[in-house]
């Protein structure tokens, strides 16, 4: 017979181990201790109203996190011992991991820094404890992702210097500047940006269907770190929703401020996720669901339910949501087209979809793929077959806010590029959309400082003016190994030899001839 220890119930335990650990300062003014709490205009009248519905305390946190880590590392070990990289669907898949390691994992680290910082800036103990746990979670995500992908680094190119690349490579300025924007904002905007707009509304799109896709492509290490991270995200999402409700309930003056942040960070996140759309539609050889389907479930359906719930606070769905919903039929194709043309300057390979993959895209995108994208892709495939693999040698015009090349099209006309420009203090600035232009107009003094990779190359700040020097010396991309077309690449040859097939591509025979 088991005798239960007498223990505190969850609510009391949470009260004792979080709120009761805080104290009221006596010899310093609260304002001096928490100087950043009110400059954004957010009014908090009663911090004790802050709710953590999980009521997680540090002792339970360590217990469950330790269990998650043990399970995770057991799988990493098994994956490495069994040469798991040999059992993935196709080596093209590894290119999604290269993008993940250089584009997403450094964001986990940036999130760790962000939560560690804002956790210090709130005078409410509940918020400080929640931020502390999330900071530790984010550090864990950054580390476990690097550990999981280190196995691939032993066998494939392009994974050798992700942190360095994150700070320099042109397309990685998209994720990097997103988090820099959030971290250089005030503490309440940071929570609205990351906890609410990013974690609650948008990260499901990356960590749920993409990770399910990783499993479907035989990558047990990645799906496991993804889902292990995502088990923390479930808490983060809950925090994100509670943060918003708490701020909105504190004072009616907070509503318009929060609405503007939601508009801004929805749009910023939507643009950032173009990369994920492309990963799902083009970089998973075995398909789980299309980007459009994922957007419908995780944004239109779940986000719709969320914003309906927030109506009672006077919050409406994000501005330009209709444009984002329509763009689900286009963004992945437009992003892949861009990376295909600029593979000379990326740490991963690109390729044209195979015939069955094109057919899958036609089926999933009946109104757009055949009409706007298939003809271009078939043309490029033909050019490649005839020995003229297309690379675009003109550096693209970047959006001043999201830093993505201005590749997106107008909702009313998918053949017209969406481009906005304004003159601010005598300088002309360019944008990919009204969404990004609005963000600039509200805080021009912030976005005029953007470090735009193309401008920096032309100004001579990247160790050279020609693409080859920038790519090799400034980015640390190994030319001929990490970049260019997948077919005939060293990764491709390695994969064929793993699978016991000989390579019979043009690029190969050309190399053999040269030898």
């Amino acid at each position: 017979m088991v005798v239960k220890n007498k223990k505190l119930n969850l609510k009391d335990k949470y009260q004792y181990l979080t709120r009761d650990m805080a104290w009221e300062p006596t010899y310093q003014k609260k304002k001096d201790i928490f100087p950043d709490e009110d400059f954004e205009g957010i009014k908090i009248t009663d911090w004790s109203q802050w709710e953590d519905p999980f009521r997680l305390t540090m002792d339970a946190y360590w217990k469950y996190q330790a269990e998650k880590e043990k399970k995770l590392y057991a799988i990493f070990d098994a994956f490495a011992q069994n040469n798991g990289h040999q059992n993935i669907s196709d080596a093209r898949y590894v290119n999604a991991l290269k993008l993940f390691l250089s584009g997403v994992s450094p964001l986990e680290h940036a999130a760790f820094q962000g939560y560690a910082k804002v956790g210090r800036q709130f005078s409410g103990a509940g918020a400080r404890v929640a931020c502390q746990m999330q900071a530790i979670d984010e550090l864990r995500h950054s580390q476990t992702q690097q550990h999981a992908m280190s196995h691939y680094n032993k066998h494939f190119n392009g994974l050798h210097d992700a942190a360095h690349m994150h700070d320099r490579v042109w397309f990685l300025s998209v994720p990097k500047s997103f988090f820099d924007d959030a971290r250089s904002a005030g503490p309440f905007e940071f929570l609205t940006a990351i906890s609410f707009s990013f974690e609650y509304v948008l990260t499901n799109l990356l960590f749920v269907p993409f990770m399910s896709g990783a499993a479907y492509n035989g990558d047990m290490a990645t799906v496991t770190f993804g889902f292990s991270a995502q088990s923390d995200e479930a808490r983060h999402m809950t925090l994100g929703l509670e943060v918003i409700k708490f701020i909105l309930e504190q004072h009616e003056d907070n509503v318009p401020i929060v609405q503007r942040w939601i508009d801004k960070w929805f749009w910023r996140g939507f643009r950032l996720l173009s990369l994920v759309g492309m990963m799902m539609d083009y970089m998973l050889p075995n398909k789980v669901m299309s980007w459009a389907e994922a957007w419908e479930v995780y944004y239109e359906q779940n986000g719709g339910a969320l914003f309906k719930d927030l109506e009672r606070y006077g919050i409406r769905p994000p501005k330009y949501q209709d444009i984002a919903n329509d763009a689900k039929h286009h963004v992945s194709h437009q992003a892949w087209s861009t990376f295909y043309q600029y593979s000379q300057a990326t740490n991963f390979h690109t390729w044209m979809p195979e015939k069955e993959e094109m057919d899958w895209l036609s089926e999933k995108y009946p109104d757009t793929f055949d009409k706007y994208y298939r003809p271009r892709f078939e043309h490029w495939a033909k050019e490649h077959a005839e020995g003229r693999r297309f690379y675009n040698n003109t550096l693209p015009q970047l959006c001043q806010v999201c830093q993505i090349p201005t590749i997106f099209t107008e909702k009313e006309d998918p053949t017209a590029l969406s481009h906005r420009q304004i003159v601010h203090e005598g300088e002309r600035y360019h944008f990919c959309s009204d969404g990004c232009c609005d963000i600039f107009k509200h805080e021009p003094e912030k976005y005029v400082q953007a470090w735009l990779p193309v401008h920096q190359i032309y100004q001579g700040n990247c160790e050279g003016g020609d693409v080859e020097t920038v790519v090799s010396k400034y980015y640390h991309i190994n030319i001929g190994e990490d970049n260019f077309e997948y077919i005939g690449s060293p990764d491709h040859k390695r994969w064929l030899s793993i699978k016991g097939k000989s390579s019979d591509t043009k690029a190969d025979s050309a190399k053999q001839d040269a030898a």
Binding site: K4, N9, L10, L56, K71, A215, S231, N302
Partner: protein, 89 residues
């Protein structure tokens, strides 16, 4: 307009019991099997009861143990010693 709450778990041995318990206590819920994961959605409300889980497992079960296998949720959370509830009000 329909307002769905959802919860997703890793498709593993622990989660089988969670899914069974949820299906029993939320007869209207829809269970979707996807690669490596199980997603359950329902109109407005989903509940996980400690009592049902303890019956399924044949041992004591702490509601916070669900944190180990959960992947994602949608809905307002209400948790105490006896249940975990997701709902839109």
């Amino acid at each position: 307009m329909s307002q769905l709450v959802f919860i997703a778990f890793q498709d593993n041995d622990n989660a089988r019991y969670l899914v069974e318990a949820i299906a029993e206590d939320n007869p209207e819920a829809e269970v979707q099997h996807q690669p490596a994961m199980i997603r359950i959605q329902a109109e407005k409300r989903l509940v996980i009861n400690r009592e049902t889980m303890e019956e399924k497992l044949g041992r004591d079960w702490d509601v916070q143990e669900m944190l180990i296998d959960v992947i994602s949720i949608g809905g307002n959370v209400d948790e105490d010693d006896d249940h975990f509830i997701l709902q839109w009000t």
